[in-house]
């Protein structure tokens, strides 16, 4: 009897402990979002969203908005995510469809992705910068896109790889038993089944790309004007936050919080979009 009581007590205690930790984490999170929201929402108006800074390099102190950074971030991260996706999807298909499970090569590739995932983004930036010096290229949207794509590549590949591994083996066997080639199976069945998961992988990659400040500092530069060409520098939201919060002027610091809020909203919007897309594509899937 007492043993049972002890077990029930244990159970209750553990439940309480989990709850305490959960609440702590949730509160921290809500507090952080709350502060950013309260501070940022004050500067959120039409002018901020629709205009580039009127005057002053890096500043916008004398009016204007942060459209340069919003557009710059979107162009750069969307393009980088598409590029990284185009490269990593064939790579993970190769890993999962053509290579054997015990392939040493596949293990090596996966290990490399894990290592690359952990490489700090400033290292990507520095590497990109080195290549640019070698090519006598100046900071530009294009350079930013390429470097951010490389930053996202291991993340998207590794997440998509995990998703493809979960596609039931029997599904591949069925397709092959109908006389399909590996390629037809990969495209028509495996990718289809894994599609929602791959969207998630792209989203995680996008999140990393859009929030990165270090790699774009070296490669995409910064500018007060709206993005106009692949070969010109662009502004990005994380760098805008960095520069704006770094000034001693309250109006500018205010803009920094607004930029942070917008960055969060962009990520929120993209997650909602991908979730609803996932639902659309999930209707035929096996579960």
């Amino acid at each position: 009897m007492s043993k049972i009581k002890k077990r029930i007590l244990e159970e209750k205690l553990f439940k309480l402990l989990s709850l305490v930790f959960f609440v702590t984490v949730a509160m921290l999170f809500i507090f952080m979002l709350g502060v950013i929201f309260v501070k940022g929402v004050k500067g959120l108006n039409l002018e901020t969203l629709t205009q580039a800074p009127k005057c002053g390099y890096y500043s916008g102190a004398l009016g204007g908005g942060i459209l340069n950074a919003i557009l710059g971030s979107l162009y750069l991260s969307v393009a980088a995510t598409i590029l990284a996706g185009l490269i990593s999807i064939p790579v993970v298909l190769y890993l999962n469809v053509y290579l054997r499970k015990d392939s040493k090569f596949a293990t090596f590739i996966r290990f490399s992705f894990d290592v690359l995932w952990g490489v700090p983004s400033i290292v990507y930036g520095a590497f990109g910068f080195m290549v640019m010096i070698f090519l006598h290229a100046r900071a530009s949207l294009l350079a930013g896109i390429i470097v951010i794509a490389f930053l996202e590549l291991p993340i998207i590949s590794r997440v998509a790889d995990g998703i493809l591994k979960m596609v039931p083996k029997e599904l591949k066997e069925i397709s092959l038993s109908l006389g399909a080639t590996q390629w037809q199976t990969a495209i028509r069945v495996v990718l289809k089944q894994a599609f929602p998961g791959i969207l998630t992988a792209l989203l995680i990659g996008f999140g990393r790309g859009v929030g990165d400040a270090a790699a774009v500092m070296f490669t995409a530069g910064y500018t007060d004007s709206l993005p106009s060409s692949l070969l010109r520098p662009v502004a990005t939201l994380p760098l805008a936050i960095f520069f704006q919060l770094g000034t001693p002027f309250p109006e500018l610091q205010q803009k920094g919080y607004t930029s942070a809020l917008i960055l969060m909203l962009v990520i929120l919007f993209i997650s909602i979009l991908s979730r609803s897309l996932t639902k659309v594509f999930q209707k035929n899937l096996l579960r």
Binding site: R100, K101, L176
Partner: protein
């Protein structure tokens, strides 16, 4: 027409160190139902996978000996593995529908092998769904997801999908073991109907099913063929002690060990292999 026969000669299959099939030499006649019976893990499913070479997907597998389909060795280097698999429809243990609509499931094989217009596809899909006795249940929701069907309907969809690539041979790996009795019976009836046109090989645990369906029976135990023959002979007058015991549902291991011992004694006495 001499299409759809399978025979194996001294077929051995190894998974790494484990020998899954041992000197299997059997003949599977065309346009009959052949049942492969035997307890779990005796190599029945392996034998099916050898026939359509899905075994190639397993790692660390070695296949030796000959497997002749329509008189041609399918383990020859020149074998076109895709046409071989097209020749063999597979009904798996659990129905696995493809992640697409009902219509696209049946159309999958058609689209892979031919370039057909949509009208032709629709026509063929209807034909094969009727063939699998599913048409009436799904004709109003052809574009609905196949995963919404009941498991019995899914298995019939799998049958329609397999028939659509116009195979000569249907391989069933315990095709009714996941189904309720009613659905099982529908599949069984269908298989009997189909045997005039297709060679059918089914793996089954279910002796009653084997008796009901099979014209020929292959009894495997630990990867070896114990006995083969016409269904009546095997079930009414089995020659081997093992077969008698298995059909009665008796424990087999002791008899097996005795048999092994006898064989090794014989070999020891110089009778040769």
């Amino acid at each position: 027409m001499d299409k759809g026969s399978i025979s194996t000669k001294f077929l051995n299959v190894f998974y790494a160190e484990h020998q899954a099939l041992k000197d299997v030499s059997v003949d599977i006649p065309k346009q009959k139902i052949t049942a492969i019976i035997g307890p779990s893990g005796c190599g029945k499913s392996t034998l099916l996978k050898v026939f359509n070479r899905l075994i190639d997907l397993n790692e660390d597998t070695k296949v030796s000996g000959q497997v002749l389909v329509d008189g041609i060795n399918i383990y020859d280097k020149a074998t076109d593995i895709y046409s071989l698999r097209k020749k063999m429809g597979l009904l798996a243990q659990r129905p696995f529908v493809l992640p697409m609509s009902i219509l696209e499931n049946v159309a999958y094989g058609l689209r892979i092998h031919n370039h057909l217009g949509n009208n032709k596809i629709d026509e063929l899909v209807e034909h094969y769904l009727r063939e699998a006795n599913l048409w009436n249940e799904v004709k109003d929701r052809l574009h609905a997801s196949a995963s919404k069907l009941s498991i019995g309907q899914q298995q019939r969809l799998c049958l329609a999908r397999g028939l659509a690539v116009e195979p000569e041979i249907i391989l069933g790996d315990e095709p009714t073991s996941a189904l309720d009795p009613l659905s099982s019976e529908r599949i069984e009836k269908k298989l009997i109907e189909l045997k005039n046109r297709y060679t059918i090989v089914i793996v089954t645990h279910n002796i009653a099913q084997a008796m009901k369906l099979a014209d020929f029976v292959i009894f495997l135990y630990y990867g070896e063929v114990v006995e083969t023959g016409k269904s009546e002979d095997i079930f009414k007058a089995p020659q081997e002690l093992m077969t008698q015991a298995y059909i009665k549902g008796e424990y087999l291991d002791n008899i097996w060990l005795e048999r092994e011992a006898k064989i090794s004694r014989r070999i020891g006495q110089g009778e040769g292999i």
